[in-house]
């Protein structure tokens, strides 16, 4: 299968970049540990609420490094070579997505091991959360493919870090959106990151009441739209880059 072959190559490219491992795994783990050492009032930083936030935060770096990989591939002649091969668009897109799934599983497993050491209850919900987070991660990977298709390798780091900031400020991982005001709260509601966090939080804590219908609709709509956009833009840029 060409897509598996491409995914294997992408996986190797990603894990052999030490920076990607530091930001995707070490930094979120450090934050998870450090925020549990400070006694911050409120529910946001309780381990059962903050661990889902850390998962989403880790995913934002998946977006960043996916965009860098795609932009790097576009900038090199490798995609010219692959463009003349029998690979089809679905092989590229699924190849990029599949290559990130093992990294997501490694990320989640390490986050939960540390979270459990820090006091998170060990339960079957952790397995469910890892499974649901694989689905949630698709939107972050698709964002990465979309950004990487639009910008150069140099710009991908900067643009990717905007996503990291957006996730931090609009997901509710650090503070409730209601603390900032009505307009900001509305923006958060219409971006997918708060919905993504609520879904993961709800599954982990077996509290499905916090996952609203709006969360599900927003999340699914964004995932479908961003995925389709990433396929269209990637395909288009592959041709236009070669002019």
């Amino acid at each position: 299968m060409r897509m598996i072959n491409f995914a294997k190559r992408n996986f190797k490219e990603l894990v052999r970049d030490p920076l990607s491992l530091i930001f995707e795994i070490a930094l979120p783990l450090f934050l998870l540990f450090i925020f549990q050492q400070i006694n911050i009032p409120g529910d946001t930083f309780k381990i059962e609420n903050f661990t889902p936030g850390i998962i989403i935060f880790g995913f934002s770096f998946i977006t960043l490094f996916t965009s860098t990989l795609v932009a790097k591939d576009r900038g090199s002649s490798l995609l010219i070579r692959l463009g003349t091969s029998p690979m089809k668009s679905r092989d590229y897109i699924l190849g990029y997505i599949l290559s990130l799934i093992p990294i997501i599983i490694i990320q989640d497993s390490l986050f939960f091991i540390v979270a459990c050491l820090l006091g998170l209850n060990v339960s079957i919900n952790i397995i469910f959360t890892i499974l649901i987070s694989i689905l949630v991660s698709i939107i972050f990977i698709a964002f990465g493919i979309l950004l990487g298709s639009l910008v150069s390798e140099k710009a991908s780091g900067g643009v990717g870090s905007i996503i990291v900031q957006l996730v931090c400020f609009t997901s509710g991982m650090y503070f409730s959106k209601d603390l900032i005001g009505n307009v900001f709260a509305k923006i958060c509601e219409f971006l997918p990151f708060e919905s993504a966090l609520n879904i993961i939080k709800g599954v982990l804590n077996n509290n499905y009441d916090i996952i609203s219908l709006r969360n599900i609709i927003i999340f699914i709509a964004y995932t479908i739209i961003i995925l389709i956009l990433s396929i269209i833009v990637f395909k288009k840029k592959m041709v236009s880059d070669n002019k």
């Binding site: 060409r2 072959n5 190559r9 490219e13 090199s76 010219i80 070579r81 003349t84 041709v239 002019k243």
Partner: protein, 240 residues
């Protein structure tokens, strides 16, 4: 049988015409060199012939198949070594070969990979990551990869650029050994390379093929002393 046929092939980028209605007939097993000044349309022609970009108009037949209808079948039987080295930087040389063997779904990939390792003398760099190799080695690996699927047609865009004299001569040997077995389209700026390797040479100027022939035919036609003078005479319309 002709390996490559183009009929009135045109490629326009907005207002600019990069390729202006070229007609080509390249025979099976022929080594055809495409020469021209920078911006003459050589690389654009190769990109169209290899299915990377679509022509604005005109027809391309590869081994009798229509590029518009049978693009994916055509892509199985050709390969390209682009102008810049096209390898995965964080993969080792062996992994690069394995990766591309996977792209083309090569059945007996170990045998083919070992054959290329031997042919391009890659033993010493096999387990080194591609990005750590010198430019010359990267190019050598890039060219080796382009033979992974036993292509019937091979496009080489300035393959010896950046290679030292010995590596260049080694590549010439490889190309000579392939002559007659596969069709090779070679873009080069080195006149001696075109002259010594090619069966025929096409000279492109401003998107048109202005002359085609063997090196000797072109020398005789322009009454030049050598092939370089013949090329300059044809490319400048006799002004230099």
């Amino acid at each position: 049988m002709d390996s490559i046929v183009t009929k009135k092939l045109i490629k326009k980028f907005k207002e600019k015409t990069a390729v202006n209605g070229i007609d080509l007939n390249i025979k099976q097993g022929e080594l055809f060199a495409l020469l021209g000044t920078n911006g003459a349309g050589k690389t654009t022609t190769i990109k169209m012939l290899s299915g990377l970009i679509l022509p604005t108009s005109g027809e391309i037949l590869i081994e009798g198949m229509d590029m518009k209808k049978d693009m994916f079948k055509i892509k199985e039987i050709l390969n390209v070594s682009p102008q810049e080295t096209a390898i995965a930087p964080n993969l080792t040389v062996k992994e690069n070969l394995e990766f591309m063997a996977g792209v083309y779904q090569i059945k007996d990939k170990e045998t083919k990979i070992n054959e290329l390792i031997k042919q391009f003398k890659l033993e010493d760099v096999l387990n080194k990551r591609a990005k750590t190799l010198s430019g010359g080695w990267q190019r050598k690996v890039s060219i080796a990869i382009s033979l992974i699927n036993n292509p019937k047609i091979l496009f080489l865009d300035e393959p010896t650029l950046g290679l030292d004299v010995i590596a260049r001569k080694e590549l010439w040997e490889v190309l000579n050994s392939l002559k007659g077995k596969i069709t090779i389209i070679l873009i080069t700026h080195y006149m001696e390379e075109a002259e010594s390797l090619s069966d025929r040479i096409g000279i492109m100027v401003n998107g048109n093929i202005v002359d085609i022939g063997t090196a000797q035919e072109l020398i005789n036609k322009t009454k030049s002393k050598n092939f370089e003078d013949a090329f300059v005479s044809i490319a400048t319309g006799g002004e230099l």
